[in-house]
Symmetry: D2
Subunit: 283 residues, 4 copies
């Protein structure tokens, strides 16, 4: 049986419509095929289908963090799963790590970070606006990860409080003004991630990264193309998302140590086994 307080994701095969909500005794959820009492759902298990009056069925599924962030209450543009998935990977998020981000916004990326850092990890998020911070906290509480997140209301000009963070992410309109703050907060050898919607912002950001000690800079955009699911008529959907934003990544380096000529002379080129060379567009 599914308990009160759990998040459920219900999905109907006829219309493909779906709802994501928290179970609370006495409440009902409206759907296109009628009302479902939360108490009825609590009589079921995950995976069960709840039959509606005229035969329609809603299946009860566990919500995913991707589905959750896509639907959370928002007052700002959010970071969508197509982008957040790769952010998680390229920033090398792992259970127990510490991530610093600005701005908090509605908390979509913040919740995703918190999901992946786990109970022993920590997300330190910053936003200058109190109301966004409050909204994000509410969204994080709903997903059950608020205790892993430290919500800061602060102007980024003051910088981050953290040092040696495992990863830093900037989702602000003028990231190039805060590259120094991101540098301060990040552990050397680790990655900074940035999301900007326009190509003009890429230019500004690249210039700022070049002025600080960042290397291995990558800029990319991610396109997801969904297909219809009729086996005899495999084809992409008519419409697709054309753009959300550009992702920029870079690794923090330290000023270069000098070596003596003697040391240098010892290093000569020989062929060596190595794991492999980088391809810039490697999939």
């Amino acid at each position: 049986m599914i308990s009160e307080g759990e998040l459920v994701f219900i999905w109907n095969p006829q219309k493909g419509d779906s709802f994501l909500f928290k179970l609370k005794s006495g409440q009902t959820q409206g759907t296109h095929f009628g009302q479902i009492k939360h108490d009825d759902i609590m009589q079921h298990n995950f995976g069960d289908g709840v039959r509606m009056p005229k035969g329609a069925v809603y299946y009860i599924m566990r919500p995913t963090i991707g589905e959750y962030t896509r639907r959370l209450k928002r007052q700002t543009q959010i970071v969508f799963p197509k982008d957040s998935a790769y952010i998680i990977e390229h920033l090398n998020i792992f259970p127990g790590c510490t991530v610093v981000e600005c701005g908090t916004g509605s908390g979509s990326l913040c919740c995703t970070f918190a999901h992946f850092v786990g109970a022993n990890g920590r997300v330190c998020t910053y936003d200058r606006r109190e109301e966004f911070s409050a909204l994000a906290r509410k969204n994080a509480e709903r997903w059950g990860v608020a205790d892993r997140i430290e919500f800061n209301v602060r102007e980024l000009e003051e910088g981050f409080k953290e040092r040696d963070a495992d990863a830093v992410f900037l989702d602000v309109p003028t990231p190039w003004l805060y590259i120094d703050k991101a540098y301060e907060a990040l552990a050397p050898g680790n990655h900074l991630g940035i999301l900007v919607p326009t190509a003009n912002q890429i230019s500004e950001t690249l210039r700022a990264l070049a002025e600080h000690n960042f290397c291995d800079v990558q800029v990319l955009e991610i396109m997801h193309r969904f297909y219809k699911t009729e086996p005899n008529r495999i084809r992409p959907e008519d419409m697709m998302i054309g753009h959300t934003g550009y992702l920029i990544f870079a690794a923090k380096t330290l000023p270069i140590a000098e070596i003596t000529d003697e040391e240098a002379a010892q290093r000569e080129y020989t062929d060596h086994e190595c794991v492999g060379e980088v391809q810039n567009e490697s999939a």
Copy 2:
């Protein structure tokens, strides 16, 4: 100082070439600009730049799981970061969860799963070929996650040993033959993921999913488009990866419980607050 046994990722800004290797006293790493002694690197910290004889610099960075899997020793096609990132998200992997996958191959996806499930999670991987299993184990040991992985050498006809897994993934040539085995292993309400390179395989797989109790089926492909990093000349790279594979996802449901007419009559449509409706092409 970086310790012996650590994985390092070194990167040179002039050629953009890079190497990923494990530090071992007495060894050297060949590069395009000469040899680097591992012992020299152990005199440095992450983020440092190591200067080569003729002035070239290699920066020492922490490798990411994405970079690692992209470069691991392989005898098979691997699952690339562009796809694995979204697999991690859509299967709702979280620290401490249990994932079941087949086939192991060279272990790229297996290592990525192990990275994200953390020390308290578990990855149960299957492959019919002993040599792939052994290679994957070696790759997992190198990344330091082999203890989270259970390597099974087994024909998939025998099925998985696990039940109620948090997620199941199939990367085999004929996934449609094993949808029943995946169903058995997966917890109701949770997601199965599948990777296939061709559209013909999508058709077959969709037919098999329809015959079992799966719902919320999604088929998509992911395109990553990298940009050159010259601020005054923002433009995509000339060439890009055109295709790796199609991703298929579906959620396991249970046979539908009947309701009495009386129960049904109580459910009528009303407008209700809900988190939001699904858009099929949601970013």
Copy 3:
């Protein structure tokens, strides 16, 4: 002054809305900013802006064949400019040539062919349904190219009447059933083009092409990605067309002439100047 009977395309910069119509004295065109009398437009020249009551302006432009086909009256799915442009090029349409196509549909591709073959060229179009043929003729008359088109109402089982056509195009649900008919109509060494919406249809069509004497087969899809036009915020539109159809092209060959061993012996490999080799993914 623009004459009665001319097609005009009017466009408003504020809303970006536009209309395409034929001038007729006494008529008016409704817009979002009020009515425009056709007689008023006839007082202007192409390029002029017509000012509306509250200050809005509609500019009068020459319609393009692309804009025209995108907006023509339709009862069927049409071939969009993004695809028709490349069809024109890859079928090597030229002024004065003869093109054969099936089916006529609403006449979008038919009008485009007629535009590019010019007054000395000929388009022979086939459709089994009288009403489509009539609609397409009306659309062609409006564009002023109906006299270059021969409208045939005929089942494709009977084949085309033409032989040695410069190009043949099939836009029918089951093109694989009519590859023999296309072969008959086409001049050897020239190209057949086919449009299908699904990957399953690609498979069937490729099998049929392989059974007949076609070579240099190409399958592709074309994606157009539009950008917003604000100079300080260069970025793609939020949504884009995800799919219209797959294009298949092939060249007709004849049964292979045998050569004697003597002749064969004379042909040995030497290095030679040549214009260049094909790249499969050539841009």
Copy 4:
């Protein structure tokens, strides 16, 4: 029989390699499977396969303008068929029209324009460098369209000689400096096209277009995605062209005529039949 002086395109199904050359008695063409004498080809017809010593076959096909431009002798970057096809369509090229372009470069776009304007049309091309003009002329002669092209060697600062051109195209590094010259040459209500490789250039160009009387501005990029042609394994090619350039289009308008309040008062909104409204991302 194919005559001396004709261009032929030969293609081999095993390797997919191909050559495009002009037939001249006494010459031979080297291939991967041996030499072919031009005189042998002249014993055949288009569509025929020429058998090589060890059984390989080259089919003789009519070259297309797309294939030709892709392979022409070049000293510059060329405009590829994927882009030129849509340029032809959006500039509304038709048999008999006059097109003005700068710069000539190696003549790829110039030959394509000449192909589509036909024997009664005219292409006026400009380049500041004599050697490009000479190369382009040679390429145009080879394709047989040089007599439709007027080659001008001139600095664009001097402007175009033409007025009321049906279409104008700019493929120069700084098109924003010559928007006024393009405006002068173009007929009102007609389209200007521009190709730029970078997003920064889009910004500059959009600013210049806004300062002159251009409207209906469109910016887009075109992606062609080729598929493998094995019917049982339908899937895109592993690699694809990631970028060639961005296309910008705009229509020339004239200064706006004023209307009296009286005239304005007569124009009120009513619903009217119209061909349809524009969708910005129309396929």
